[in-house]
Subunit: 302 residues, 2 copies
Amino acid sequence: MSLLIVGTVAFDAIETPYGKTDKIIGGAATYIGLSASNLLEKSHLVSVVGEDFPRETIDLLQSKGIDVEGLQIKKGEKTFFWSGKYHRDMNTRDTMETQLNVLETFDPIVPDSFKDAEFLMLGNLMPAVQQKVLSQMNRRPKLVVLDTMNFWMDHFLDDLMEALKSVDVLTINDEEARQLSGEYALVTAARKILNMGPKYLIIKKGEHGAMLFDRDRIFFAPAFPLADVIDPTGAGDTFAGGFISYLVNGGDLSFDGMKRALIHATAMASFCVEKFGIEKLLEITPAELEERKLALAELTRV
Amino acid sequence: MSLLIVGTVAFDAIETPYGKTDKIIGGAATYIGLSASNLLEKSHLVSVVGEDFPRETIDLLQSKGIDVEGLQIKKGEKTFFWSGKYHRDMNTRDTMETQLNVLETFDPIVPDSFKDAEFLMLGNLMPAVQQKVLSQMNRRPKLVVLDTMNFWMDHFLDDLMEALKSVDVLTINDEEARQLSGEYALVTAARKILNMGPKYLIIKKGEHGAMLFDRDRIFFAPAFPLADVIDPTGAGDTFAGGFISYLVNGGDLSFDGMKRALIHATAMASFCVEKFGIEKLLEITPAELEERKLALAELTRV
């Protein structure tokens, strides 16, 4: 089983009520890859950075089993940079600065050795780029998961709608589900979105948990109740990486398999927000992960 | 096992995106009592109305096993009236008008025959009035549940803090838990609130479910995902009535017993919001209730 991950590799500068960082390593694909590395020995990355991106970080990704053959390093250019500030409720944030840099002209090239990947994680990125990656595969992967956000709905809705036709699982948050469907009630929103292409829809509700829908069923996974959320950046990507890596690892792509993947994804996301940036993702022990998943199961056990 | 319910019996005028009502029957104790009547043959009410309150409604309550000996009917006075308008998200509402009327001078009198009640539900009301009811009991009930709201925290915090010392279970919503504790994270908020007196805390999160806390444990009950929420009025009271009636009925006051009560409460609240006012509470069939509770259990079953 092989996993191909597409998404940004970036610099972030983050401010939360708990503190402020300088430029630290971020990006959807970074979080997805590091999240997946907690279950998988190997995954493959397609992304782009500038010449300013630290070699040590690329080495770090490789040491976590993330194959970087598909990571383009653009000479004389700068890495994508995002800076944001979270408010007290940690559910809302202001983007302070976005420098697209290398992303502006990103033309993803899937190395030949990745083109047979059975699992494809299309991390949050321009829908046309996500689509372009899918079109380069030798055959359609067994499972394609697409993560996106309101920005693409605002500015590239047609491309996004086109991409949605080809995916198995879509992950978005509750506000995005409302925006995409034009429906307030999530049950109704899900029904409409499932008519746009995806066979499964995951609605991420942050501290309120996550919901998995197919045409007939709904599953709900509560979030782990944390006393302190230090930095929510990357939680959704970590969630997506946890979700798909669990499916790669277990191979059960049924609704029941996806339920278990959702619990794993929830646990991973709960770790992510406990420290700034990717820090916590590098140090989760298997025992800690197991303990958290048990605690999550216990939370709803009657 | 006997249940005493204290709270308002009122007129409401409600506007939601689904429509608008004239004066209809409302009030915390009304919803609590009707919710409880779905499990209990008998309960006892302490409340007050004006001369304008319809005799048929009092008859209706009686027909549902709600003993109205403790319902004061004030000659020449008017019933408490509240009018509110809900926004699209149904989680926020504006109070358009409040006429306290008979509530202004409400002096609760617990009939002798109710003074040995083993379960006491102190519905949302002035904390001093809630306290006054408790003090009239012949002995401390086996279980005292108190529901309250931000209004009392804003204006009668000392009285509320005093009342909290004597209760077993406090039910409030997430914003109120944050206000009462001064803590944003619900886990931390719960810890602080449990130090104020209650042995158990229930945090109601509307469409995001409900959480039960004691000092060591957390249980989470998701809300039933409804396609249409027609009118959220009384959902919290219906929840409280469902919760306590389940405990009266089952008698298991352990944490595990309360978990099951929370599921029942969640199911009852989900019915309440399906129609305007108390309408749906009058027509729930046992089969429908059973079906909804099964669906709720299924929602988190892995």
